[in-house]
């Protein structure tokens, strides 16, 4: 094929070959006025493996949801197998011959492998399943997928890697011409990965096309013929794999200009708190000390110290164990080994006890476990601290005192006065909901606040306000642990960043050392 501009690395012209299996033409998609895909154009040749890489939130998932018929583009078109392709639901994608192997597996663990493979098309005689035929068909597919297991094995007994192979076998059952593998190796062992890679090679040899989405850039270079880099919803690079190296990919993935999205963070020397004389958070008073925390299969060998007035970030890819670590610290999940102390006192027991000793956790999903959606704004705000307003002897609530406290905290987090206290929180915007969750914990005056994705899905203005509140809390002497998938957020907000990968801490950077490439490299597996 001809490229008239060989010097351009970012190329918006479609790179077409004579045998394009799939092509995207100027695809654009917005959510709530925010463009998540801008003019995306690229193609996947027949019998080729195309790697799709980009940071979390670069638009990969959205693009795949368009392809799978879960979403529809605002503008642009797709072509598949030489004809226009506009799926309206997952069934359309399937009948067109596109198979998805999802990160979150869509198998039924209570059924056998064979039943999972042929759930929507059992071989039957009369009303009955032809069990012998089902077994034979399933065995043949499993054989092709390289999975040496009896087809009647229940899926719940399989490892993650084996389940992934079953998903691939399911795609083969309807003879998919294009397979999408979305982060297929995150939960696989090294041996299972090898098996998967061999299968990818075999599928390509059969003339099928694959889109391989992964953060494991080494794997991408090894497996793929072409690599497409997405950043902020745009294709910023696409070329044959031979012309890439991991360093170039990383710098293209992250290379965006930092805008002023964060409140001024005074250097630690000028901030209040005991650390001010020493001049660095490392020398501040240790607050939360975590030593050798481990839970088999989840996190291992976790040791770090959070100081007073420090904002400590935790970076890592999805599935690195960050949320799991937060849950362990807060007492939601067990941990087998290790010691956690808060200002010298051991931290143990239920979340209730830990809250009393000064811990707080803002969870990843405010809708699922951060808010009581049907309850009012006031009820949600008071949820944690309600008992403080109960007076002896009958433990009746001191409503006046409660009302004053709520009014004060509402002002502190700048919740607009027009919002009625009796309003159900489900009617609030995402940003206001997040302010309610944060205010709920601020009322408890925590000594250590753990924030898991504190600004997910909220607009820039509300983000800024939440950052400001985090700063204020730290300035009052609390320690803040921020888990975030947005690197920019961590580098803008934190004094120090821990990087996690595969359940371990792989790097620890002070503010002076912040470097997006170094963080990304520490977060990438292996």
């Amino acid at each position: 094929m001809q490229n008239s501009h060989p010097s351009r690395t970012t190329n918006h012209e479609p790179r077409t070959t004579h045998h394009d299996q799939l092509s995207f033409h100027a695809i654009t998609k917005s959510f709530f006025g925010v463009k998540v895909l801008k003019d995306v154009t690229f193609s996947v040749g027949a019998g080729r493996v195309v790697g799709l890489v980009g940071e979390n939130g670069a638009g990969k998932s959205t693009l795949m949801n368009l392809l799978g018929g879960n979403l529809r583009p605002d503008a642009g078109a797709m072509r598949f197998n030489g004809s226009d392709y506009a799926p309206r639901d997952p069934r359309d994608a399937r009948s067109a011959g596109i198979g998805f192997v999802h990160q979150e597996l869509n198998l039924f663990p209570n059924l056998s492998i064979a039943e999972n493979l042929f759930l929507d098309g059992f071989p039957t005689r009369g009303p009955f399943i032809r069990r012998g035929r089902l077994r034979d068909l399933a065995a043949a597919l499993l054989n092709r997928a390289g999975l040496d297991l009896p087809p009647e094995t229940r899926v719940e007994r399989l490892s993650s890697g084996e389940r992934q192979l079953v998903e691939i076998a399911r795609a083969l059952s309807f003879d998919a011409r294009l397979l999408i593998l979305d982060e297929p190796t995150t939960s696989l062992s090294a041996r299972e990965c090898e098996r998967l890679f061999a299968l990818v090679g075999q599928l390509r040899a059969e003339g099928r096309s694959l889109i391989y989405i992964s953060h494991a850039l080494g794997d991408v270079l090894r497996l793929c013929d072409d690599v497409v880099v997405l950043r902020d919803g745009e294709v910023v690079g696409q070329r044959p794999a031979g012309e890439w190296d991991p360093g170039r990919m990383v710098s293209l993935m992250v290379g965006r200009e930092l805008k002023r999205l964060f409140p001024e963070r005074a250097p630690p020397a000028q901030r209040g708190g005991p650390s001010s004389e020493q001049g660095g958070p490392e020398r501040g008073t240790p607050l939360l000390e975590v030593r050798g925390v481990a839970q088999p299969g989840v996190v291992r060998d976790i040791s770090f110290t959070l100081h007073r007035s420090e904002i400590l970030g935790v970076s890592g890819l999805m599935g690195a164990g960050r949320t799991e670590l937060a849950r362990i610290l807060f007492g939601l999940d067990p941990c087998e080994r290790g010691r956690i102390t808060l200002a010298g006192e051991p931290v143990a027991g239920t979340p209730r006890r830990r809250i009393r000793s000064g811990l707080a956790l803002l969870t990843e999903s405010r809708r699922d476990d951060g808010l009581c959606l049907e309850a009012s704004l006031a009820d949600n705000l008071a949820l944690v601290t309600l008992a403080r307003y109960a007076r002896t002897p009958l433990r009746l609530l001191h409503l006046g005192g409660l009302r004053d406290a709520l009014a004060k905290i509402r002002e502190a987090v700048r919740l607009q006065p027009r919002l009625a206290s009796a309003q159900p929180v489900k009617t609030l915007s995402g940003g206001n909901q997040q302010k309610v969750v944060l205010a709920k914990w601020l009322l408890a005056e925590p000594r250590v606040l753990i924030l898991d994705e504190p600004t997910r899905g909220i607009d820039v203005g509300a983000k800024f306000e939440i950052y400001q509140l985090i700063h204020d809390l730290a300035d009052r002497g609390a320690g803040v642990l921020v888990i975030s998938s947005e690197l920019e957020e961590l580098t803008g907000l934190c004094d120090r960043i821990l990087v996690m990968s595969h359940g371990r801490i792989t790097d620890d950077l002070s503010r002076a050392e912040f470097d997006r490439e170094r963080i990304l490299n520490a977060a990438l597996p292996g």
Binding site: R94, N106, L111, G321
Partner: protein, 328 residues
């Protein structure tokens, strides 16, 4: 400790109902020589057939993570209609067909509320429970109705020496078991109950699947109602009351999960119904205080459900998400 758990405790929890059942049989057998007579055991089976059949229908519903609280009400309405028809001189086959038709229609009405109007199964069937009780009282004018002798004869009839109710139970059980284990429909019920969204993504017609389990439950309730009528010979204003709970208990004792996707009619639900009935039967033989019956029955149900909860907690701990592998 680990050895003890894996080799003894876990299998024991897996077969808690069977162990409880054997325990109950042993206790009553030891306390009363009359318990293990052929006559009593046959009687026990016949008595449990109605609950077993209603429980089979309930198992289909529970497998989809739904619930049908209207089972007892369906029995009552169907019996009331049958009583009216019999009073009007309708022949026995017509009356029986009417009962089955009422069960099917009632189930279809539940299905309509749940799958078309998207009312939560619990709420929808709670509503139709009250509708059914009201309807039945209205039809019967709250007066007991005697049924023609044909009904009682039905309960006493034997074929090849085996009581007719047992033939009916065996046929329903066999049909349900084969449906659940050997047909696409049955296997898809397990899929829908396990993960509704994933089932939709897999291209299944989930609405039709969900609708059909309520129709089946209605039909099973009607058949169970017929077997009860064949023992009682009359429709009282409390006929069928609380029968949905013994049906749920039979299914849950048999290992069917209220969260869907797990369970079986054979041996599961059958065993559950037999367990419930053998407790009552044994207490009758022992001349126990009738007020004790519900206490003993509920203690047994509690023990079985506790075993199931413990087992699930262990399974969940084993199945927790893994971030890394020891060799990875």
């Amino acid at each position: 400790m680990t050895f003890l758990r894996q080799r003894l405790l876990f299998p024991a929890l897996n077969h808690a109902t069977l162990l409880l059942f054997l325990g109950v049989l042993a206790v009553f057998g030891a306390l009363s020589p009359k318990f293990f007579t052929a006559a009593n055991l046959t009687n026990l089976l016949v008595q449990s057939s109605s609950t077993a059949i209603a429980g089979i229908g309930m198992t289909f519903v529970l497998l989809t993570a739904g619930v049908d609280l209207s089972v007892g009400a369906i029995m009552f309405v169907a019996a009331a209609v049958a009583g009216k028809l019999a009073q009007g001189g309708a022949p026995l086959p017509v009356t029986l067909a009417a009962i089955l038709a009422v069960g099917l229609l009632y189930g279809a009405f539940n299905a309509l509320l749940i799958t078309r109007l998207r009312i939560l199964a619990f709420v929808a069937t709670l509503g139709t429970l009250y509708i059914g009780r009201g309807l039945g009282l209205w039809i019967t004018q709250t007066r007991p109705m005697d049924l023609p002798d044909g009904f009682l004869a039905l309960g006493a009839a034997r074929w090849l020496g085996v009581p007719l109710p047992l033939w009916i139970l065996a046929s329903v059980l066999a049909a349900a078991h084969v449906t659940l284990t050997r047909t696409p429909f049955g296997r898809r019920i397990y899929a829908v109950g396990n993960h509704l969204e994933a089932a939709k993504k897999a291209g299944l017609n989930t609405r039709r699947l969900l609708a059909s389990v309520y129709v089946l439950s209605g039909l099973c309730a009607a058949i169970g109602g017929i077997l009860s009528l064949a023992q009682l010979g009359a429709v009282s204003p409390t006929f069928g009351a609380n029968r949905e709970f013994s049906a749920i208990a039979a299914a849950v004792l048999g290992g069917t999960s209220l969260f869907g996707g797990r369970g079986a009619v054979f041996p599961g639900t059958l065993l559950g119904a037999l367990l419930i009935q053998s407790v009552e039967n044994g207490l009758v033989i022992l001349n126990a205080d009738p007020y004790l019956y519900p206490l003993v029955t509920s203690a047994i149900i509690f023990a079985a459900v506790l075993a199931d909860a413990t087992r699930n907690a262990w399974l969940e701990r084993l199945g927790r998400r893994r971030i890394y592998h020891e060799h990875g």
